[in-house]
């Protein structure tokens, strides 16, 4: 058996079992097969100056909502894909997949960014916050509460992204003006046109956060 074959068998074993380590708080392990298609390439660590071949899996260490995850990902996988399809956290939504709608907004080191235009391998060890991370235990966090109380949605599809954009804004500006709110939400489209209520929710969320 050649060295390559040995490597492949080793990797296949990993992926079939579904390779994930959940080192954070809690004992919950995300189970089942993490990689839907059979994979026969090498598994590599993402180290500086190591070329990760297109047909390889990379061990990516992600810090999501304070928990550490180690997942296997292809270099081309977006953070959005890894969040939803590999880790199974589907709060972050897929809209346009091209940086135009905001449905996939997450915070990276407290700043709102589009998870669809962010490669998972680029955000190793950065602080990633998704809408799941805004809960106070079983209770809604302040921004989520403000959205619910202000009817800041109709279909709700854009809502997790809007909530994250507002959360990001409020982490930077404690009491944003009406203009700052509009600008803070300007990267998030709402097909249902709930903008007035979204702006009102942002305004209330600022007050809730301070109280």
């Amino acid at each position: 058996m050649s060295k390559d074959d040995q490597d492949n068998r080793h990797c296949e074993g990993y992926t079939r079992r579904g390779f994930i380590q959940f080192i954070g708080v809690g004992a919950g392990v995300v189970g089942a097969s993490l990689i839907s298609q059979p994979f026969n390439g090498p598994v590599l660590a993402n180290e500086d100056d190591q070329v990760l071949p297109a047909a390889s899996m990379v061990k990516v260490r992600l810090k999501i909502n304070g928990n550490r995850y180690e997942v296997l990902a292809e270099p081309r996988w977006s953070l959005l894909y890894v969040l939803r399809e590999i880790i199974g956290q589907t709060g972050t939504k897929l809209g346009c997949d091209r940086g135009e709608c905001g449905a996939c907004t997450v915070l990276i080191d407290d700043l709102p960014r589009y998870a669809c235009l962010t490669l998972a391998v680029e955000v190793e060890n950065r602080e990633i916050t998704t809408v799941e991370g805004l809960m106070n235990g079983e209770e809604l966090g302040p921004v989520q509460t403000a959205f619910a109380e202000n009817d800041a949605f109709q279909c709700g599809y854009c809502t997790p992204g809007q909530v994250m954009a507002v959360e990001g804004l409020l982490r930077k500006v404690e009491s944003p003006s009406a203009d700052e709110i509009r600008s803070g939400c300007s990267g998030n489209l709402c097909r249902c046109g709930a903008y007035q209520n979204i702006f009102a929710a942002a305004d209330q969320a600022a007050r809730l956060k301070k109280s």
Partner: protein
């Protein structure tokens, strides 16, 4: 899903240059333009060379002469919010603030902003047009309401998409470039390529060349700088018409005027005609009228974008009336 590519994140500049010598290697800075281009198959990228590990490409520093050196990886948000930028070159902070959306500004970098691909809808769509190596520009005789009115030479009528490049040209900025052969400095004014010179290229950068820093000379005495962008909506949108002004003022006289237009031409469009009317003049109503008219005299609008001529003229008049009045009309 993106097409498959290999990925490397070197921690030394020399290594990055070396990786870029690989066939079909491309630079990944923020990725906000690159990943879209790869997904739409506008660009081939077999190896993504991430600049993320290069610490020397970050940060904004004051230079010995009182100008600024901005690392190519500085995000657009950092440029728009930085105290030194706002104090010395308000126009650059304004230009950066007009880029895309908050999310994209938090991720996109200044270097990437200068090197982004155009937004012509044929180019971004499935048309094998001249710029992609085909035989025809579909826009010149097609749907061209958002295309160029200057400098297209009836070859390719993209408008250069960057909101920071016009300001950097107006401020006489240059880029420091590291490459496989020599390291060089290029004026931002000479960075972009007019279609008549080479319709396939957006910048003069050669394979393996990386912009490391953007250097802006010390502000001229009493520098007035501004950037204005007209767009169809307040969410992210590219310029229909825009203008960067950088004026050295002597009392209420403009001793030296730099005017660079966006949404206008395939490259950031320097309006020498307008600069000539303004340099050495005081901004009377008559001068303002003549200057704005001079700017649009050389326009060659296409069938669908005649409206831009009056839009530029009116916008330039408004912008000139703000000079010396603290930015208020």
């Amino acid at each position: 899903m993106l097409p498959k590519f290999s990925y490397v994140r070197p921690d030394k500049l020399a290594q990055a240059v070396k990786h870029l010598e690989t066939d079909k290697a491309v630079i990944h800075a923020g990725g906000t333009d690159l990943l879209g281009c790869l997904r739409e198959r506008i660009m081939d990228g077999d190896l993504l060379v991430s600049l993320g590990g290069l610490k020397g490409l970050a940060g904004i520093k004051e230079t010995a002469d009182g100008g600024l050196s901005i690392g190519a990886l500085t995000t657009i948000t950092e440029v728009s919010e930085n105290r030194l930028v706002r104090d010395k070159y308000p126009g650059l902070a304004q230009g950066a603030a007009e880029v895309a959306s908050p999310q994209l500004r938090n991720q996109g970098t200044l270097g990437g902003n200068l090197c982004q691909k155009p937004r012509c809808w044929y180019f971004r769509g499935e048309f094998h047009c001249l710029r992609k190596g085909g035989g025809l520009c579909f826009a010149i005789k097609g749907e061209n309401q958002f295309h160029a009115i200057f400098g297209h030479d009836k070859i390719c009528a993209i408008t250069h998409p960057s909101d920071t490049a016009p300001v950097l040209v107006a401020l006489n900025a240059s880029v420091d470039v590291v490459g496989p052969a020599v390291n060089r400095s290029i004026a931002v004014e000479d960075l972009h390529v007019p279609p008549a010179e080479d319709v396939r290229a957006e910048t003069v950068l050669k394979r393996g060349e990386i912009i490391t820093r953007i250097t802006i000379p010390a502000p001229a005495p009493n520098l007035y700088s501004s950037y204005r962008k007209i767009r169809a909506r307040r969410s992210w949108d590219f310029a229909l018409a825009g203008a960067a002004l950088a004026f050295a003022m002597d009392g209420d006289r403009v001793s030296r005027a730099n005017v660079v237009l966006s949404g206008a031409a395939p490259v950031p469009w320097r309006s020498t005609a307008m600069e000539e009317v303004l340099s050495g003049s005081t901004l009377t109503a008559e001068t303002i009228f003549r200057a704005a008219r001079a700017a649009v005299a050389e326009a060659r609008p296409l069938a669908g974008n005649q409206y831009k001529v009056e839009m530029f003229r009116g916008m330039l008049e408004e912008e000139l009336r703000k000079v010396g009045k603290g930015g208020e009309v």
